[in-house]
């Protein structure tokens, strides 16, 4: 397990090499690289500034990693987050998950990315051509619907209704026991009428 919150983070290749050496049972490594982009909510970003309460951020990330490792049965996890100023194109967040099979690592990294962003006390300020703005995250949504890569905006009331309906249906299935803190992913694969050759994925 590796947690870094500071002005310097490891190169992703070194992080992956280090994890690869941890176990001969690793069959899949999934890596996420967060990069500073120029456009954000219609504004042109010059650079970003990251502030952190570093001690608490390390504690939170350590606990989060332990939780995710146990939940998905991962072999190893690394999370490294930059602080200070970062220019366009610079890498600011590295997350690497290693597991025996790819499915656990893919599911784990998605949850980690979402949770690292809001649970760790690390804050992003966008320095743009029109001013400086702190990015303020909202509480995470109860439900997220993505169709062919585009997220469908849903208000909290609709999120609640759809998620409760899905959970109620799932809870009736044999071998499904829901405690209430699960992260449920439903993927719908529909073949379009005009698409005889392929399969459209609705996630």
């Amino acid at each position: 397990m590796d947690v870094v919150v500071g002005e310097k983070i490891s190169e992703i290749s070194k992080l992956i090499d280090g994890i690869k050496k941890k176990s001969r049972n690793i069959g899949a490594i999934i890596a996420f690289i967060g990069v500073v982009r120029e456009k954000s909510r219609g504004r042109r970003v010059s650079r970003l500034y990251y502030e952190a309460q570093e001690n608490i951020a390390r504690e939170v990330l350590g606990k989060l990693i332990a939780q995710i490792r146990e939940k998905y049965g991962l072999i190893d996890v690394a999370v490294e987050h930059r602080t200070g100023y970062a220019d366009i194109g610079e890498e600011v967040l590295h997350i690497v998950c290693a597991s025996e099979h790819r499915s656990e690592a893919i599911a784990a990294i998605e949850e980690l990315i979402d949770r690292v962003k809001i649970e760790a006390p690390i804050w992003k300020k966008e320095i743009t051509t029109t001013g400086e703005y702190w990015v303020r995250e909202r509480e995470p949504p109860r439900l997220r619907v993505v169709i062919d890569g585009s997220e469908v905006p849903l208000n909290p009331f609709v999120q609640k209704i759809i998620s409760k309906t899905i959970l109620a249906m799932l809870s009736t299935l044999r071998n499904v026991s829901l405690k209430g803190d699960e992260r449920v992913v439903v993927k719908v694969f529909s073949s379009g009428k005009n698409n005889s050759g392929g399969t459209g994925e609705k996630e």
């Binding site: 309460q53 608490i56 690292v116 006390p121 992003k124 300020k125 303020r136 995250e137 509480e139």
Partner: protein, 90 residues
């Protein structure tokens, strides 16, 4: 003395990096009530009705604390309290 430190946009809205409180409140709940009095009309940045707003995180001496039982968290002289917004990293 208890020191309260503010972070990111909360710090900028208050216009101060830290606040020192000479009185020694017994619990974190008491401290927050004192703070509410100190910040006056800016209280709505942190408070929602009787409680702390959703998304606000609090640390004591570099450890994050749970906010569901503030009255059970006892303070000692010299404690450093961090008041932080929800993260926005990545």
């Amino acid at each position: 003395m208890i020191t309260i430190r503010f972070y990111a946009w909360i710090r900028e809205k208050f216009g101060i990096r830290e606040l020192r409180i000479d009185k020694k409140p017994q619990t974190l709940c008491d401290l927050l009530q004192l703070l509410r009095g100190e910040i006056g009309e800016k209280a709505d940045i942190l408070f929602d009705g009787d409680g702390i707003k959703g998304g606000i995180m609090i640390g004591i001496n570099n450890r994050l604390v749970r906010l569901d039982r503030l009255e059970d968290i006892y303070l000692r002289d010299g404690d450093i309290i961090d008041i932080m917004p929800l993260g926005s990293g990545g």
